[in-house]
């Protein structure tokens, strides 16, 4: 099984059925996992912040760091390798509130809201969410069968 690791502010897509896409320690970051269940093509993006206007210079250098500049690139990549909108689902993972004292500046929640809003505008639906809480998550997508595994401190669960 090939492993494609997605770092913070990066994205990855694959149509190799013997591969897995994985991202680690999401914290307040959000991973959007997308999978075409008929064509068996998957993708993942590890979003750190909601909007590129927060840091325009960074958004130019690394657009995948932000939800608004990163998601269109993920969709573009998915289109390029043959994924179809009508046979795909989207799952959302992460967006935890890792810093308790800072609730008014809850980046995790803002990330989740930004992603939901962007998807809403594109009329794309989220079939499953594993978001919020106060713990970090690692998530992987198996391209062969579309299974999504979330893990934290040695525990694994499927979503």
């Amino acid at each position: 099984m090939k492993l494609f690791e997605v770092g913070i502010g990066e994205l990855g897509v694959s149509s190799d059925r013997e591969s897995e896409i994985k991202t680690y320690a999401l914290g307040s970051c959000v991973a959007l996992v997308i999978y075409d269940k008929v064509n068996r093509i998957g993708g993942m993006i590890h979003i750190a912040l909601p909007y590129g206007e927060i840091n325009k210079e960074k958004a130019e250098k690394l657009p995948t760091y932000f939800a608004d500049t990163g998601l269109p690139l993920l969709f573009k990549k998915m289109n390029e390798i043959g994924a179809k909108r009508s046979t795909s689902w989207i799952k959302l993972v992460g967006g935890a509130s890792v810093i308790k004292s800072c609730e008014s500046f809850d980046i995790g929640k803002r990330n989740v809201l930004a992603v939901r809003k962007i998807l809403w505008n594109k009329k794309l639906r989220i079939v499953k969410e594993d978001v919020g809480g106060d713990y970090s998550r690692t998530v992987s997508l198996n391209i062969g069968d579309g299974s999504v595994t979330v893990s934290n401190s040695g525990k694994n669960w499927k979503i």
Partner: protein
């Protein structure tokens, strides 16, 4: 996208019938429909019965549509279900809030099959690309 199980939440029997009829015309005649008369009844129903799509009114007794959606989005098992709100109210602030909560679409009454297709991203001219 396939919406095999659809839950309609509205306190008016006639409205529920109209919503179902519109979905049938829009091509969702094979879906399985369930009905609830308000948000509270819908939440109870969802404890036992997973669905693929929820269509809800805003003004309802016991629990209104906005409260229902907020509760829905807070729960792990139901937060991912897409929701379409059908309302006669033109309150932009509430509309914006509902969108932020993750509501899929807010449709103005009267409902029509075209509005449903448009909301579900399956209208004319919509390709199969993201």
């Amino acid at each position: 996208m396939a919406y095999d199980k659809i839950l309609i939440v509205d306190d008016s029997v006639t409205s529920r019938m109209i919503i179902k009829r519109c979905f049938h015309i829009a091509g969702y005649e094979k879906s399985e429909y369930s009905e609830a008369e308000d948000g509270l009844a819908a939440l109870n129903f969802l404890k036992e019965h997973p669905v693929d799509l929820i269509v809800s009114d805003l003004n309802m007794p016991r629990m209104d549509g906005a409260t229902f959606v907020r509760r829905l989005k807070m729960k792990e098992g139901t937060s991912g279900i897409p929701v379409i709100i059908i309302s006669s109210m033109g309150n932009d602030a509430l509309r914006e809030e509902l969108k932020e909560t993750g509501v899929f679409s807010v449709l103005r009454k009267p409902l029509s099959p075209d509005k449903i297709l448009d909301a579900l991203g399956e209208g004319e001219g919509e390709g199969d690309e993201f």
